[in-house]
Amino acid sequence: MAQTENSSRDRILERIRTGLRTVVPEPAATISDRVIFEPVNNPLERFQQECVANLMECSLTADCAASARQLSKVLQSLPEGETFVQDDPSLRRLIELAAPGRAIRWSSQGAPGEASQATVTLAEALIAQTGSILVTASCGGRSASVIAPCHIVYATVAQLVPDLAMALSGASQQRSLDRNSFACVISGSSRTADIEKILVQGAHGPRRLVVILQTAT
């Protein structure tokens, strides 16, 4: 185990333990029966509503061919340039249908370049409660979801989970964070309101976050 040399470690731990010997009365927990978040009854409907609120673009497609048409439409709306794509059989198939002539950089060839116009990745899950996508390092790496002006996510309705609690407990159970050094719950395009609280989309990351949500798996 690569332990860092650390002379203050034991001293700090000792101080913490000494401090904790002071007893602070703890009131009994009382919220066990209270519901904090409204339960999500219709995950698909809720996800679509939250996408609108998060200023994301979500298109519902029936099958792979329809998803390819949608992807093609999005790519055509972007300036010429390289598209970075997560190297996955489902995305290879989709790109073949959607953008046969376009310059593609696959994640197996390395990280996306700064000049990428778009990135196309899968997601680990979609979260209805917050209109979010959950990605990990397996989804084309860390920068795939933040480097280009447009991030396109190809997902299926089967990947929808009702809320954050389910998504996080799923990640815990599947030990996602032991298998990946990185995960991110993304809820919209990059933004800032640092000047006079005025919302600007496309701060350091994508201006557009597009979800192509396919009903058939």
Partner: protein
């Protein structure tokens, strides 16, 4: 002549509260926050239950701090990360500085971290010739102005677009010809993209350290935190020991509550989890991952049975936004890393009660801060406790002690009290009559120099009481 922190506070507060441009900017900013915050709270079915849940999570973490920190450390180290425990700011800065020097770092990109402000990390790195870029848009703006963040969530909220456009023209590009926020953001993005790709080291803070999973959680909207932790070959996390939480699932409540209290969002745009350096087979990510756990006075608070809960703070900024004092005097007036109510409570513990006790008095004790705190810290009572602690520690002025002794004596001797009241009414009537209200001759100067004098009663309260108050 050197001035004390208290004198500077009074001077700056007087200037800022009379600055109409500043007042208007803060008023508009806070109104926009208030509306978003209320809307955000309404999205949560039971806001009070959410606050209580967050309080319980943080209480459990802090009451077992040693255990959870060790659990976190073990996980991070098992994945090839490094954990350094820093007793104070100097140790933390030395560790990062030595690491940067050893690994040949010349440029650092930083995402927003209040702990790095607290320990003055950037100046320490710049002293050894390392260029540090703040990459949060607001932090970037205040870095160009060479001033500290104004607010812990929105560091540049004291500036309007015209001031920022002028700053960018002077410091970034003389061709800047618009003050449109999107245009200014794009200019900063272009500049900072170069920095992201040039930097060898990315430094971030952490909103939470998750013990059971051994990951850090960072919430950012702009994506700068994502780039800082993805592109450079070294990632250093500098954070306080109190940021630990027990379980990954706790974020299901903490993330929405932090976002709601911070900006009114349902969840922050990028809620990121990082558990170590890039793993074999991963496309990108840093080769080295270091977590610096900073104590810097925090462990002392554990022994304070009344105020241990101050360590529950998740730095959302809600108490600053609601505080009538902050809204008038602004963030820089506090002269501390953490402004507003939480700063007034915390700073005496971190930087000394003698120098910073005045902050406990920069409060009307209205309790608005406690009412909005998402982890239910009883902030205004802690301000009262700090006042008491300062008095008990003998940190008060001798003139103040003398005044209170005289007051106590008068309260115990009704005749002396009555005589005092009688003389004061006479004296004030004369001073007001001569038009000297608010002048140096006026004992009520502090009140009267900015306000009309309160009309004097013709009789004392005791006299009116004897006659029957109701008939007066």
């Amino acid at each position: 002549m050197s001035t004390t922190a208290a004198q500077r506070f009074l001077q700056d507060a007087a200037v800022k509260s009379a600055d109409l441009v500043h007042r208007e900017l803060i008023r508009r900013g806070m109104e926009s926050y208030d509306a978003a915050h209320l809307k955000g709270r309404a999205r949560i079915k039971d806001w009070e239950a959410a606050r209580q849940k967050c309080q319980e999570i943080k209480r459990e973490a802090i009451n077992h701090l040693d255990r959870y920190l060790l659990q976190f450390e073990e996980k991070v180290v098992s994945r090839g990360g490094h954990v350094f425990w820093a007793a104070n700011g100097e140790e933390a800065c030395t560790y990062v500085k030595d690491l940067a020097t050893r690994l040949g770092v010349r440029t650092v990109v930083k995402s927003k971290s209040m702990v790095t402000e607290e320990i003055h990390l950037s100046p320490a790195l710049e002293k050894v010739g390392i260029k540090v870029w703040e990459t949060d848009f607001g932090e970037f703006i205040v870095q160009l102005r060479d001033e500290p963040p104004y607010h812990i969530v929105t560091p540049a909220m004291h500036l309007n677009r015209g001031q920022i456009a002028k700053l960018f023209r002077e410091k970034l590009d003389p061709e800047i010809d618009s003050d449109d926020p999107a245009y200014l953001m794009a200019a900063a993005r272009r500049k900072l993209r170069q920095a992201f790709f040039a930097a060898e080291m990315g430094i971030s803070g952490a909103n939470f350290l998750v013990a059971d999973t051994g990951v850090i959680a960072i919430s950012t909207n702009e994506g700068n935190g994502r780039l800082c932790t993805s592109i450079p070959r070294i990632h250093v996390v500098v954070t306080g020991i109190e940021k630990v939480i027990p379980r990954l699932e706790d974020l299901a409540v903490l993330w929405p509550v932090l976002a709601t209290s911070g900006t009114g969002q349902g969840i922050t745009t990028y809620s990121t989890l990082i558990g170590g350096p890039r793993r074999p087979g991963e496309v990108d990510g840093p080769e080295e991952f270091h977590v610096v756990l900073v104590d810097n006075g925090r462990s002392q608070l554990l022994a304070d049975a009344e105020q241990r809960e101050v360590l529950h703070c998740i730095r959302c900024g809600a108490c600053l936004n609601i505080c009538p004092v902050f809204r008038h005097v602004g963030g820089h007036t506090y002269g501390t890393t953490y402004p507003g109510p939480i700063g007034s409570v915390l700073t005496p513990h971190l930087a000394g009660i003698k120098e910073f006790k005045h902050l406990s008095y920069a409060s009307s004790l209205c309790g608005a801060c406690s009412s909005v705190c998402p982890v239910k810290i009883d902030l205004h009572h802690h301000l009262l406790q700090n006042r008491r602690n300062a008095t008990e520690a003998g940190a008060t002025k001798s003139s103040e002690r003398l005044m209170f002794r005289a007051w106590r004596s008068a309260m115990l001797h009704p005749r002396i009290y009555a005589l005092g009241g009688w003389s004061m009414r006479r004296a004030l009537r004369m001073i007001y009559g001569l038009g000297l209200a608010g002048s140096i001759f006026d004992p009520m100067r502090v009140w009267n120099r900015h306000r009309s004098p309160v009309p004097l009663p013709s009789q004392s309260f005791r006299a009116r009481w004897r006659k029957g108050l109701g008939t007066n």
